[in-house]
Amino acid sequence: MPRRNNILANIDWVTIGLYLLIVLLGWLNIYAAVFNEEHQSIFDITQRYGKQLMWIGAASVLALIIMLLEVNFYVFFSFIIYGLLLLTLIAVLFFGTVVNGAKAWFTFGGFAFQPGEFAKFATALALARYMSSYGFKLQKPKSLLTIAAIIFLPIAIIILQNDTGSALVYFSFVLVLYREGLSGVVLFFGTLFALLFILALVVSNLTLAIIMIGMVMLAYLVFNPKLKQFAYVFMVYAVCLAVFILADLVIKTNFETDQFIVAGAVVASLFVMYSSIKRRLPNYTKIAIVFIGSVLFTISVDYGFDNFLQAHQQVRINELLGIESNPMGAGYHVNQSKIAIGSGGVWGKGYLQGTQTKFDFVPEQSTDFIFCTVGEEWGFAGTFLTIVLFLTLFIRLVWLAERQRSSFSRIYGYSVVVILFFHFMVNIGMTIGVMPVIGIPLPFFSYGGSSLWSFTILLFIFIRLDASRLEQLSV
């Protein structure tokens, strides 16, 4: 049985210190974001900074409770917690309140509560529990399917709540799986398809076809630097393309030139695939397959974008990719946010001196756009420090995760850090206009009881696990 003093001695105070520092800075910026001359008392609970102070107090109590609980509680109850939260998520679908278009909230009295926030730590617990179970092998299809189910169940319900932004967070678990042995290929394809996704929407089909054909030729050259074989492949593509372009010029069809070129390249790839299998040149085979897959993917992206995404989502993605720019419309948030951050300069305008902040030009400034306050009032010095602070926390958490003996604790630790990182990346990215505006908070920083509590629970369960890292967990 663990002894209390043992735990106290093993608590990682650095992480707790970083946590407290970020929470404090967050609160100071919330105060600035909602500050007005009439309400100056920091305890004024009609104001958000007053409320946030309450949430911080409650979060401290939560953290304390988490630290006091038996470590095996989290292991033992992980699936039950996960199940309960899924049920809550479903309940929200029926009894919830709509806030900002998403039916993701329960409201009692003046307080709103977002179960989706808490599903993150529950999913992390369930994932850690499953992946640390005896005889678990990531490579087994059954394992992969179960993991997918654990991750996609909450995603599905949250998407049903029309809260796509929060759902995206769950994709960050890919990094956890990568750490636990998922092939790097998955990461490679993840990145490739993300790039293709963007290019498919940004550049014209013809340009994209040319880029892709150029890339595939480069890949053939790099991965099998034998000139004779490359010349053969090159000839195949050249002939196929020439035939199809000629066909386009001669035959009158409803298809565009770029479609002919793509078709030509696909035919050439199939030919290369066939002959490389015969001649046992696996690199060529793989490249050809990837190319054909990429083509199929881009086609489906174009089709999916036009047919499956909702209008406001299309607009936001278009805004982000710079296809549509309407500073008074959907781009208003980002535009004002960039103005706030950009006008901060090196040292900022001074605390409570930000005009964008004081006069409410940035919507949602105490929640999703809290980083604007940092940028405007503390300048580059403030934003840089904030980024450093978060990165320090993340690296510390990775280090803590790596020192765990039990895979449960390690997997949970990685889950914590990737969830926090994803929020950090998307939240700050959207305030400077490089990520789509999906309303997800900056951990510990943004105003909101649900998010502060859920991140506190998420983090402190890991701190609790870490404090007992020397014990054997009853997995």
Partner: protein
Amino acid sequence: MNNLSNRSYIIVAIFAVVGIVYTILLFRLQVLDSDYKQYATNNVLREVVQYPARGLVYDRNGKLLVYNKTAYDLLITPREVQTFDTLLFCNLLNIEQDDLERRIQKAKKYSRYKPSILIKQISPENFAILQEQLYKFKGFHSQTRTLREYTHPVAAHVLGYVGEVTGRDIQRDEYYKSGDYIGQSGIEKTYEKQLRGTKGVKKFMVDVHNRIQGSYRDGEEDQPAEIGKNLISTLDLDLQIYAEQLLQNKKGAVVAIEPSTGEVLAMVSAPTYDPSLLVGRVRGENYSKLLADTLKPLFNRSLQAKYPPGSTFKIINTLIGLEEQTINLQTRFECYGKASSPIRCTHNHVSPANVVDAIRESCNPFLWNTFRSILNKYKTSAEGFNVWRKYALNFGLGRILSKDFPNALKGDLPQQALYDRIYGEGHWNALTVRSLAIGQGELGVTPLQMANCCNAIANRGYFYEPHIIKEIENDTVRSSVKVKQDVGIEARHFEPIITGMNQVTKGNLAGLIGITGHDFCGKTGTIQNPHGSDHSAFTAFAPKEDPKIAVFVYVENGVWGSRYAAPIASLMMEKYLNDTIATRRIVTEKRMMEANLLNPIQPK
């Protein structure tokens, strides 16, 4: 398992890459790019125009004529409007519900975020009631404007009016912005630059809802509005009021000038209107009404009516004859009364008449002979006519006398070309254009021009530009008003004329028009009117020596010169010189004030 822990470095590397990329992006955004600072300033900066009060206008004795009153514009910011009690709102503002709806739609169309004027120029009395309730109506606020206010409902034509600028005004002068006011006639127009002052600007910081949050940089960049300059006009308020009373219910004009300076003491066009009718919200409606009025109250007869001067013009023809030496003091012309040819005489008088007789009796044959002698003095009638015309121009006929009167007309002073065109070159002579001898025919003279002629006679040969502004606060009146303009006729030639004019006031008319304590000079005119009763004109100055006032009065359908114009002119002069009207003339004064000549047919 151990080799997998190397993957933690990849993960940390991903974190680091994102952190570095964001740091670079932030550095570019915050440090390298300075545009955003400007955008942030533009966001919060609102410039609020400070409208200066227009300059005040005083009369020559320092009595206030025009000042300013506060009015309130009600503005709407559509975005901030919440559901409100439209019925109460409409009652407070005294407008119809659908009118309100239309105005709100218009404001929304302009901008949902920026305030626009919903209702203009609410009077302080109405606004006081509205203001108490305004808190109930979110999204509405007021701004203060100044409107013109008049101490007395007189001198509307002289003072002019102020109205909103037109697109052309804005094009001509960048100072003006849509919704600004500009002087559109009278003094308000001529002295617009002095009266308007300079608009100021106050810079405020506003929040995202455009609500003012405080001054920008503690008001360092504010420019205070400079109030307009005050004007002292040459008008004599008492005389102006009196003249308007005398001309009420009549059509006509009065112009009174101080001969020694050219300062216009009174200028009336009847019927006139209350200048306060063209102020504020009621302006548009009243303007249309005045415009539609068949009596044309907006028409400034004193500057724009081209009246044939009639017999009052005989003085000038006689003076030209004397100067050209085609007649002299010994010259007498026979008058056969109604049998005279080519122009008959309507008066019974001694014959043959000399210059003094002719002026006193307004003898048409004398004037015909004089006019003929002028035109015949030269080789051709045309040459003689041009000499005659030059003198008429010297007297200020056929030209604009002063910049002070923006709406003034030149009048008609026919040119040789006109007669050449009508009759053919060399095919006309004095007989052809004989109407000019007695101030009729193609001659069209404005009352201001006639008053100016009288001015020149009173001065014995010169005048100063008739003008309406005596002094401008912190500024000088243009120097042209100080320039003596000579009419080119020797002073001595005026004496017989003045004697004749003096005798006019002493004969039969003495009882009617005599001024207690002052010897004065006058000349009647009766202008034939084919459309109704003849018009009545009188030109006069007083006192005879060292004249203080020269007056021209024209009363349409006034039957005879002596019937209305002469008594009105003499009453004005008496009022001006004596401050009071002698008791014996109270009856005349009453009769003049009460006479209603708006019916074009008057009993003979």
